[in-house]
């Protein structure tokens, strides 16, 4: 029954379970960063009434959203492959949130696809509702799901995590669009982006205060730890610095700093979780992880592919880099 190619009773490296904890959160981070700006595009879309501007937004969204969305499947399946109990409990304990999130994704994905099928005002209005509504609710519910993961049933921190994800998605969406649109539109987007940055930073500070004061999910001590403080301080610096770059019209640099915000948020989630991986039941990473052979296998087969996937993304964003040249969603 032994497999000669892979160690059966020992992890390939001693810290493989921790590496996988990192890998799973990396996939979540990629999702929050990449689909985050898609959600931002969807929400900012609501502020546009001009058909040409809406088409421009959809043209920025069209080629990349589907690939971005796959990161959530990568996250879910990697969680299942490495930590099946966490996958099971997280989703089963938050049934309506989890399915609400995927239903929001259905609306968000179908909206633009259906919109281009008919040249009819009413049809466009309804498909736009689907796109915008899905783009608001998907990050809100995903953030709440993450909040439940971290803090259990505490209502206010869970809601704040959801709102924080909505706000940070608007920041990245605005920065992404600013690099792709003409200066007049970009400066309007900049205003939304800076407002959302301030809302996001304020939200994170309030979240931190609430968790410390109420000790939601027993996370007060972790919230006051040095790493979390460092991440929050860094977020404030990056957020304000990015807003400064935006004011000076340096949109590419602004985009880079904006994308750092959801990255830092994911790092905060990782710090708050570790060394447990499901705080509501106190389950530790080492207790939840699958057996050595199974983890070694998904490492050897999965990690090289993950690198390849990152290359695909570099290629995809390379092909579709630069400003939008008046093409609609349908290309």
């Amino acid at each position: 029954m032994t497999d000669p190619l892979l160690p059966v009773d020992a992890y390939l490296v001693e810290s493989l379970p921790e590496i996988w904890f990192g890998a799973v959160l990396f996939a979540l981070g990629m999702y929050v960063v990449l689909d985050g700006f898609d959600f931002g595009i969807g929400m900012l879309y609501a502020t546009r009434t001009d058909e040409r501007e809406r088409e421009t937004f959809l043209a920025a969204f069209g080629p990349v959203w589907d690939a971005n969305e796959v990161w959530v499947v990568a996250f879910g399946t990697m969680l299942l492959a490495a930590f099946p109990r966490v996958y099971s409990r997280l989703l089963a304990d938050n049934y309506l949130l989890a399915l609400g999130f995927v239903l929001a994704l259905v609306f968000r994905g179908l909206g633009p696809e259906l919109r281009e099928q008919r040249d009819d005002e009413r049809w466009k209005r309804y498909t736009d509702y689907a796109f915008i509504g899905g783009s608001v609710f998907a990050p809100l519910l995903l953030g709440m799901l993450a909040g439940r993961w971290l803090f259990g049933g505490a209502t206010l921190p869970v809601a704040l995590t959801g709102v924080a994800l909505v706000a940070v998605s608007i920041v990245t969406g605005a920065a992404f669009l600013a690099t792709k649109t003409e200066p007049g539109l970009a400066s309007e987007l900049r205003a939304y982006g800076i407002g959302a940055t301030l809302a996001y930073l304020g939200g994170v500070v309030v979240l931190l205060g609430t968790v410390v004061l109420t000790d939601a999910g027993g996370a007060a001590d972790a919230m006051l730890s040095l790493p979390v403080a460092a991440v929050v301080a860094l977020s404030v610096a990056v957020g304000l610095g990015g807003s400064g770059l935006a004011r000076r019209g340096r949109y590419r640099a602004w985009l880079a700093s904006a994308l750092a915000l959801p990255t830092l948020l994911t790092i905060m989630v990782a710090i708050l979780l570790y060394p447990t991986i499901y705080p509501p039941t106190g389950l530790l990473v080492r207790e939840a992880v699958v057996s050595p052979l199974a983890l070694n296998l998904v490492t050897v087969l999965g990690f090289p592919v993950l690198l390849l996937v990152l290359w695909y993304f570099k290629f995809l964003y390379g092909v579709f880099s630069g400003p939008i040249e008046g093409e609609g969603y349908g290309g």
Binding site: V72, L91, L99, L283, E287, A294, Y312
Partner: protein, 482 residues
């Protein structure tokens, strides 16, 4: 917290008519049924797209550009629907069947993660290029993108079917206790991934997808050819689809016959349900079965059925040559799958399979005689047949999945034990209703999109509205009034 507590409060009312288990099973069955239509559309359309793109890039002939452009649009719409319906699938193991996910995580988690990373990403990234990148990349990159999208679709099916085949014929694991629960621990990856069922299932499903899409392409082409007989592009598409039908339809029947024998070997209970075979012993083969009374629909027993049967041939086929071979009957088991669903689904699938062979032979004969398009009757038959490849594919999966009940992992874990213990009937019913309403809307929209694309194509071919005959058939994407 709020809405969940609220729903729990009204739960007793709801639970009286829809249990979490029943609602979860219906929801999973419904959502996978819709998803699989789009997933197999990608698989079956891939060879067409690659062929048209290749010919387009190589020959620069207008007809291939036209066909590529049309079918890439269909592929894209189908892919978006496949994505949005696929994401709920990857979460529902956790939301509705967490015990299943936890027990089998080491076995199914790997293949599902490989599917996302190796296949889904590949498709999604290069579809972006295929849809939006015609002017941004070179011909060669564009052609390679189409091949990678197709390869991704077939690879995706490979990993997903590894999971499903393991659920039918599980091996390569041992049961151990972890965190106070009996879970399957992977002991032999080769055995676990390449289960006895896997090659059967993969070949049968890939060919079913090609067959279903060949019928769809043939139907659309036949409709356009019927309206515009001299179109070079769509006569080409029709011929290509009929050629694929001629290859895939007989192959599916021959392969399915051998596959059935394998099921009898590995899942005798499912096989008995497919044949409604209750008493262990010699089995007849019911070639055709019709209900004698309404009860036969829900309880298909020999005495309720008018059958055209070959005595003892069931034994002969199941054993591969022995008329007296003993076939295990359903009475041997304490708990059986819903026999009627399995029995009638199986007959429906097989019946359609023979219909497809008939259409293939007819098409082959017409091609030999000089032209498919000359026979309006054939065109109309192909238009009418266009959705039935999918009907056969779905009913085939009902045989596979309902036939495995009461097990979710054959012989190891029952479906009833896999359902979430924290799920309430209210929550499950609420999401079930949501998925049913949303996905009905989604499928109607998909049909409308096809209809609009066909109409637009006819317009660009210069067919005036209300030109030619009127269609009164059952296919929703065919316009009857314009």
């Amino acid at each position: 917290m709020g809405p969940i507590t609220l729903l729990s409060a009204v739960d007793p009312v709801w639970a009286t008519f829809l249990s979490p288990e029943l609602a979860s099973r219906m929801q999973f069955g419904w959502t996978i049924s819709v998803h699989i239509i789009f997933a197999s559309l990608s698989i079956g359309l891939a060879p067409f797209i690659i062929y048209f793109t290749w010919k387009d890039v190589r020959t620069n002939e207008q007809r291939y550009a036209r066909l590529r452009s049309f079918w890439v649009k269909v592929f894209a719409a189908g892919f978006v629907m496949g994505t949005v319906t696929g994401i709920p699938m990857s979460f529902q193991f956790g939301t509705n069947f967490p015990q299943f996910a936890e027990v089998s995580g080491e076995l199914i988690g790997g293949p599902l993660a490989f599917e996302a990373k190796m296949a889904f990403f590949l498709e999604a990234v290069f579809l972006g290029v295929l849809l939006y990148g015609r002017d941004r990349v070179e011909d060669r990159t564009y052609l390679i993108s189409s091949v990678l999208v197709g390869f991704g679709a077939w690879l995706s099916g490979f990993w997903i079917l590894i999971v499903n085949a393991w659920m039918q014929t599980p091996r390569g694991y041992e049961m151990v206790t972890r965190n106070g629960m009996e879970v399957a621990k992977l002991t032999d990856p080769f055995a676990a991934f390449l289960t006895p069922r896997m090659p059967w299932m993969y070949v049968h499903m890939m060919n079913a997808s090609v067959l279903a899409v060949a019928l769809l392409v043939a139907g659309v082409s036949a409709y356009i050819v019927w309206k515009k007989p001299d179109t070079e592009a769509w006569n080409t598409a029709l011929k290509l689809a009929v050629v694929l039908l001629i290859i895939s339809a007989p192959f599916q029947a021959v392969h399915g016959d051998a596959y059935g024998r394998h099921v009898e070997d590995t899942q005798p209970q499912k096989f008995a349900a497919m044949e409604a075979h209750y008493e262990t012993g010699q089995a007849d083969l019911h070639l055709l079965a019709f209900p004698k009374s309404p009860e036969a629909l829900t309880d298909p027993r020999a005495e309720n059925l008018v059958t055209v049967s070959l005595p003892a041939v069931g034994s002969f086929l199941a054993s591969g040559g022995d008329f007296d071979a003993e076939v295990i009957g359903l009475n041997e088991y304490e708990e059986n799958p819903p026999v009627a669903l399995v029995f009638w689904s199986f007959r429906f699938m097989v019946g359609l399979g023979f219909l497809f062979i008939g259409l293939a032979l007819w098409g082959g004969f017409l091609t030999y005689r000089g032209g498919l398009a000359d026979s309006t009757r054939y065109l109309k038959a192909m238009i009418a047949a266009s959705p039935f490849g999918y009907a056969a594919l779905l009913t085939g999966w009902y045989v596979t999945e309902i036939g495995r009940q009461p097990w979710v992992i054959q012989g190891e874990l029952k479906t009833s034990e896999a359902v979430s213990s924290t799920l309430t009937g209210a929550e499950a019913t609420l999401t079930l209703v949501g998925f049913v309403v949303l996905y009905i809307g989604l499928m109607l929209t998909a049909l409308y999109i096809l209809k609009w694309l066909v109409r637009e194509e006819l317009r660009s071919l210069g067919v005036r509205e209300s030109n030619g005959g009127r269609w009164h058939g059952p296919i929703p994407w065919v316009s009857s009034d314009d």
